[in-house]
């Protein structure tokens, strides 16, 4: 009664949250990415600008997403990412794939990945690279509950 009816259906679409944390008014990149993910067959929950770490974690929990994508262009990633990861872990969401993109200098990437962000996509990354990475690495939707 619940499964979609499209032919060749086997795996449900990947559910992904795209969030823009902090005081960052630039969402062109995030919107382009949302559109690309939609066209790749994902279900994309876009929460808009100025998200606090708590907002992002609560949305990920309630929506039961498999992936969180953080887009940041403000330069505040080193301040915000640890807090976001803390909020995510505090809610037991350890099995969610977390990726980040935006104006993040290469020098910061090892520290960000050490926090638990699975992959960082810097300026100039092809949309197809992001789509392929998520498709290959997203966990299965709720295997248990």
């Amino acid at each position: 009664m619940n499964a979609p009816t499209s032919p060749g259906y086997n795996r449900p679409p990947i559910r992904i949250l795209i969030a823009k944390p902090g005081l960052d008014g630039h969402d062109r990149g995030a919107k382009v990415l949302v559109r690309a993910l939609r066209d790749a067959g994902f279900e994309v929950i876009y929460t808009g600008l100025f998200q606090t770490p708590e907002m992002i974690a609560v949305a990920a929990l309630q929506e039961d997403v498999q992936v969180i994508g953080l887009s940041i262009l403000s330069g505040a990633h080193m301040a915000l990412f640890p807090r976001i990861i803390d909020e995510i872990k505090a809610r037991g969401l350890d099995d969610i794939l977390v990726v980040a993109g935006g104006t993040i200098p290469k020098a910061d990437i090892p520290a960000i990945e050490a926090l638990g962000v699975n992959q960082v996509f810097g300026p100039g990354t092809l949309l197809s690279t992001i789509v392929d990475y998520i498709r290959a690495n997203a966990p299965e939707p709720s295997r248990s509950w």
Partner: protein
């Protein structure tokens, strides 16, 4: 897991239980269906309110404003917000939540976004299942925001006990207002964006068309004006929604609608199941492959082939 285990998890401190079970139900996972099976007898308590109307009429903003009203009266509330899936890629942008983000620290509000996943008519295949789940989790109020619908998306009428149809100024004249379809299923009608030019006209036209009471119930749907972005008129809207809920309980209408809902859910599910079988392709059915071959050779007309297959459904399709 027993029924009591499931209910305890849904109603207890484990905040992940409800969202994860929702995913299993949405994906048609057997564990989700088994859980629904057990908890279904505990459902039927919630007041399910549908919020429907054309794209851009302000449904999400109105839902966000309703959340403020509902929380002011200290009731817990769940929102199911449905957006369309692409028929080409199956992808979807679920953007209703964006209007409801400032409720994130409020434990009394649960918001879930859903893609329609190929269903037409304003809902998703699993919408009813998720409503049952939220009902079992003891949310006394469940708001279901449909896909933006035109004149034809009336499926919400068989899921919700109270249907709020949201219109905006400038969408049509008095003829639009008396056509069959969406407005016909409205228990409460709202002209949102009520501060914009043409709002007075829209309210007047809609009130005129609702002067005639509903033919079966004798009830007249109220027409309200709101400005969801500022909250203007939203208190009155919530009062009308609650009044409609009381009216349902005081009349036989609640019973009637429950029966309609059960019927609609079974038939929609049956159609989905049939679609899945049909989509599985002729290679899965020797009978179908044989019929296709005979039709293509002009030995049999398509109509007779369809009749031959649907004869197997006689027990359901037979008239009373």
């Amino acid at each position: 897991m027993t029924k009591d285990d499931i209910l305890e998890r849904l109603r207890g401190a484990d905040r992940r239980a409800l969202p994860r079970l929702a995913t299993l139900i949405e994906n048609g996972d057997p564990r989700g269906l088994a859980a629904l099976d057990l908890i279904y007898p505990s459902t039927g308590q919630a007041h399910v309110v549908g919020i429907t109307g054309p794209p851009g009429s302000g449904k999400s903003t109105l839902v966000a404003a309703l959340l403020d009203e509902i929380r002011a009266s200290d009731r817990r509330v769940a929102v199911l917000a449905i957006d369309p899936s692409s028929s080409l890629t199956r992808g979807a942008v679920l953007g209703d939540r964006i209007r409801m983000m400032d409720r994130h620290l409020d434990d009394g509000v649960y918001v879930r976004s859903m893609a329609s996943r190929g269903r037409q008519g304003g809902l998703a295949w699993a919408s009813a299942g998720l409503v049952h789940l939220l009902d079992a989790a003891e949310y006394p109020l469940i708001l279901v925001e449909t896909v933006g619908t035109g004149q034809d998306g009336t499926d919400i009428a068989s899921l919700a006990a109270t249907v709020v149809v949201v219109e905006a100024p400038g969408l049509g004249d008095g003829v639009q207002a008396i056509k069959s379809g969406l407005l016909e299923v409205g228990d409460v009608v709202v002209v949102n964006k009520g501060d914009q030019p043409g709002a007075d006209d829209a309210v007047r036209i809609l009130r005129a068309s609702f002067e005639l009471a509903h033919s079966r119930t004798g009830r007249r749907a109220p027409v309200l004006r709101t400005v969801a972005a500022t909250g203007e008129g939203v208190g009155d809207l919530m009062a009308e929604i609650d009044a409609h809920g009381r009216w349902l309980n005081e009349t036989s209408e609640r019973h009637y609608r429950r029966e309609q809902a059960a019927r609609a859910e079974i038939l929609a599910g049956l159609r989905a199941a049939l679609n899945r079988r049909i989509d599985a392709g002729p290679e899965r059915s020797a009978q179908l492959a044989n019929l296709i071959s005979r039709v293509s050779k002009r030995e049999l007309s398509p109509g007779r082939a369809i009749e031959a297959i649907s004869a197997g459904l006689e027990s359901i399709a037979a008239p009373k």
